[in-house]
Subunit: 414 residues, 2 copies
């Protein structure tokens, strides 16, 4: 993509009304555009990152047997009356032209359970795992932290249906592994903790995946004893680690990037979702749900991958493989154009800064945008290309072929 | 995918409340699930078709310079007051917890124009083409025809921004070509006509792409003189073909699968979207918009590709490459399991009917689901596989390797 044509005009200054560093950087660099507090457009740069994150999640959900579908956002209010969630304050309400009452989905238990009911009758239909990557709506009184807490957001939600508690527990632990792989692939693995959370009225514990960052709205307590984390709610109740009982806990600010949740028979009971087991006994179905907010994750990646100059994307979720910069006169431009064509032909996803702006502006924008590899062509590079990692100050001079080999080897690692 | 685990339970009977054949078949075969009139879930089968259609469209939009982004569904009412579209009757209205008024987007001119305004200042920023594949909402009093006219639907909408009428017209004609390629690739090329439509108050003509089918809600008039089509609105006004003036017109029922629309300066004027040309003169920007409803297109494909037994998907948009059916005892099952593993290993997307149901049920479901190629393994096939096209009655006995070669050659054609 030639930057002269690219729908992005990075600004020299962060937006004043944003507090979190990720919101500032993502807006300043034209990853997202804020339409209204909590309501964002993903611009071409942000859309590319979103698709990378989506594919990492999709691959892992498929690997644990998830079947992808796509449910609507318009939900009849009756479904929420059955689960007594029609009084939830973050529901958006709207009226159909026919007079019928609808809400916008903030989650999809009320839709997937009656749908699963059409499919499941016997134990032979279980277990079942279905998921979607779809837009949710929450009528928050205050939306803040940029794309990390918004009124409209894209979420992956998987629902699992089981015959027995044991089967549920086995899958729940498989899903813990899938989530760990997702956060690792997205570059936040080291800073993301499996966190014990209060499971509410129908389950003792659920789990959150919390990424440590000062921009977080949550506080978690890292256990020096066993290495897990515990959320604030539990610590208020019991002061010690629920796993190893240690009291040596260190508080850290964090952001919830995912959660996994035992639903037991709460929603099955509300809709009468039952099955007949091998002995002919009719029983309620055990459920679990498993969420990841894609924008939330994107924000957490930026919070943990930036410096004073801008973003430093992990390669797996970067909008482009390579940022090609041309500094100089017509002959340099000619070399750069040829290099660009060469990279494109070889399947490298390049953003090529061919704009008529100063070298300083190009460097500043490249630092802000944060593509992990930068290739510079100037009068001094001759037949070679100056390669610099966004995360390092050192550069090396390489042949274009070597750069392609290097990028492809990185692709293969992932 | 093993059918015993697949989230689909094809029914023996079409749903009673649906009139259009596509709605009947798509619901009966578990491509879609109707939550409420005009509000559907895309089930795993339907989701796979949706993604194929999406990728055909994405490829063509990228080939004509479109840059993909993703705009929100929640829109501030103020933006619609500026264009005087806040009174449109199909708008869904909702209140934010803060009291602010919002609507759900039925289109995105009101969002993209102020966004483009942040980018465009000079003629050097033009032309600009941006698009998205995103969910729209229409508060229809009546929703009918299944996924072909719904209250919530996925649409591709591209917006183009130009310095001059000439530049717009050139792009408009490029887009006609892209649309023709999309409908051809989706299998409805021969039945889809570029149709002259009334452009409304601010443009003499726009164009629709109309697919001829008895299930259509529109009527178009095919011109025997020049081969184009004309919609009802124009014929009511002028009785003759607007291109060649012929009066030899044949009326046909049809469904609108896409439209391309000159917006002139209607929306630019409403938001003051202007640019400075090479002579330093400040001028309004010329716009066009280009839509395709993905569910609408899926419905039209089914309407034009079905028989009494079910759907017959064009290969490009089929949910799977191959439907593998095993008829027989344990030794047949063993062969079939091995063939399934072999196809999967070779990158073939197979639905494998390994269910404990009769051969008759398997054949009936396969006819209903409509995967274009069927591979049967039975006592009589021995080391070979009986291959049948969904569209033909004849079969042939082939080695598994030959089937892979055949499918891969079809992939390469597309």
């Amino acid at each position: 993509m030639k930057q002269s044509l690219f729908f992005a005009k990075p600004s020299h200054h962060p937006p004043k009304e944003e507090i979190s560093r990720s919101a500032q950087l993502l807006e300043q660099a034209w990853y997202v555009d804020k339409l209204f507090a909590g309501v964002y457009t993903y611009l071409p740069l942000g859309f590319r990152v979103l698709k990378k994150i989506e594919n990492i999640i999709r691959q892992e959900m498929n690997s644990v047997g998830g079947q992808e579908l796509f449910m609507p956002a318009l939900h009849p209010i009756e479904n929420y009356q059955k689960t007594k969630r029609d009084i939830v304050d973050i529901l958006f309400h709207l009226d159909l032209a026919t007079g019928k009452k609808f809400v916008l989905g903030f989650s999809h238990e009320e839709i997937i359970v009656p749908l699963a009911q059409r499919y499941i009758s016997s134990y032979k239909d279980l277990p079942l795992y279905v998921y979607q990557i779809q837009t949710k709506f929450r009528n928050e009184l205050r939306a803040k932290s940029g794309i990390m807490r918004s009124r409209e957001f894209i979420m992956k939600d998987l629902y699992s249906f089981h015959a027995t508690d044991e089967d549920f527990e086995e899958y729940y632990s498989i899903m813990q592994g899938a989530y760990s792989r997702i956060f690792k692939a997205a570059g936040v693995g080291e800073k993301t903790y499996l966190t014990f959370a209060s499971g509410g009225t129908f389950s003792k514990f659920s789990h959150e995946f919390q990424t440590i960052t000062d921009a977080g709205e949550d506080t978690i307590h890292l256990c020096n004893g066993c290495g897990i984390a515990v959320n604030d709610e539990i610590i208020k109740e019991q002061k010690t680690c629920p796993k190893c009982k240690s009291a040596r806990l260190v508080a850290k600010k964090s952001i919830e990037v995912g959660n996994i949740f035992p639903l037991k028979t709460k929603f099955s009971d509300a809709f009468g979702l039952r099955f007949t087991n091998a002995q002919g006994v009719n029983k309620p179905i055990i459920m679990g749900c498993y969420g990841i907010g894609l924008g939330r994750l994107m924000g957490a990646i930026v919070e943990t991958h930036c410096d004073k100059k801008g973003i430093i994307w992990p390669a797996n979720v970067a909008p482009f493989d390579l940022h090609l910069l041309a500094f100089g006169d017509a002959s340099v431009r000619k070399n750069a154009n040829e290099a660009y064509e060469f990279f494109c032909k070889n399947g490298i996803d390049v953003l090529y800064d061919n704009r008529d702006v100063s070298a300083g502006s190009k460097m500043a924008d490249a630092d802000l945008i944060g593509i992990p590899l930068r290739a510079i062509i100037s009068a001094k590079t001759k037949n070679l290309i100056e390669l610099k990692k966004r995360s390092q100050e050192t550069t090396q001079f390489l042949e274009p072929e070597k750069i392609i080999t290097f990028i492809k080897s990185t692709h293969n690692e992932n």
